[in-house]
Symmetry: C2
Subunit: 148 residues, 2 copies
DNA sequence: TTTCGTGCAAAACCTTTGCAAAGTG
DNA sequence: CACTTTGCAAAGGTTTTGCACGAAA
């Protein structure tokens, strides 16, 4: 598995943004950990004293602009972020009950691209999430609402 | 094109929820208009005097429980809702600049379902959104940042 | 040294909730 | 009549912003 840290750091260095401690800590954490993570997750994990929450909000936007992150929306009112690894494009399967996140290593975006290209949009990105009830939560629900 | 109002109304009537003016207005609006719409959009469109914003928030949950609506997240911090028409499954292409929404009449969820079913999740739903820059916004951007 | 980034606190924003009054079946 | 729903106002939670100070190039 390729180490993406040098490439990611390089993209930050070559940008017009400055290389700061907060940005290094944020990027390093997301490159090394799979995620996706909420802003608050990240704040705790990199150490609350590393930088302020507001700084993470601001720098997540910076890294989004550099095309280094994906934003995920799971419908619970919180955004989650993960490192955009070009060799590991994937999607998510989220349990509606316990919020457990599984990875789906498949994508059908290519087959839908032609439908989209007719419309002349550029700089395409996509977001695909599957929701369901995981086996554990289903069993729990069955036990608490027995049918007989 | 089939009129979905009778079926939708019927599902509400047969549920344990009561049929109220606010629910009728909300459901009728979403059945007749394509959307997806934000809560505030809906509040204005059905008439702010029809019911309170809080009532729409509550009833959108009711209609979600009845499987009559889809919730869409476009990453701008606001949820949008649309009537879930079983004969018109589609996805969205959203301009990151002007938020214009186009419909994509294609879906390849079936082809990804087998990857998902191995994991034992039930009650699957999915959310697929494509983002890009629409032709109008791209032209505007080119004019304001000329290359020569 | 000049410009950009950060911490802190306040504000903005969307959404949820408590409660008394009104509506539904 | 019993129970649900609503309006209103307040609270909750996440994200954004202003500004003075500190850090990077």
């Amino acid at each position: 598995m390729k180490n993406h840290w040098p490439t990611a750091l390089d993209r930050l260095k070559k940008s017009s943004y400055k290389v700061t401690q907060a940005r290094l800590a944020l990027l390093k954490y997301l490159v090394k950990n799979h995620g996706p993570y909420t802003i608050e997750d990240i704040h705790v994990k990199i150490g609350c004293d590393t930088c302020d929450l507001a700084t993470i909000y601001r720098n997540v936007e910076v890294l989004m602009n550099l095309n280094l992150l994906n934003r995920c929306e799971f419908g619970d009112g919180v955004s989650r972020y993960e490192f955009k690894n070009p060799n590991d494009h994937h999607h998510h399967l989220v349990c509606r009950t316990c919020r457990r996140i599984e990875t789906i290593d498949a994508c059908f975006f290519d087959s839908i691209k032609k439908h989209v290209s007719k419309l002349g949009y550029s700089d395409l990105t996509h977001q695909f999430e599957v929701f369901g009830i995981c086996p554990k939560c289903r069993k729990k629900a069955q036990n608490s609402h027995p049918k007989t």
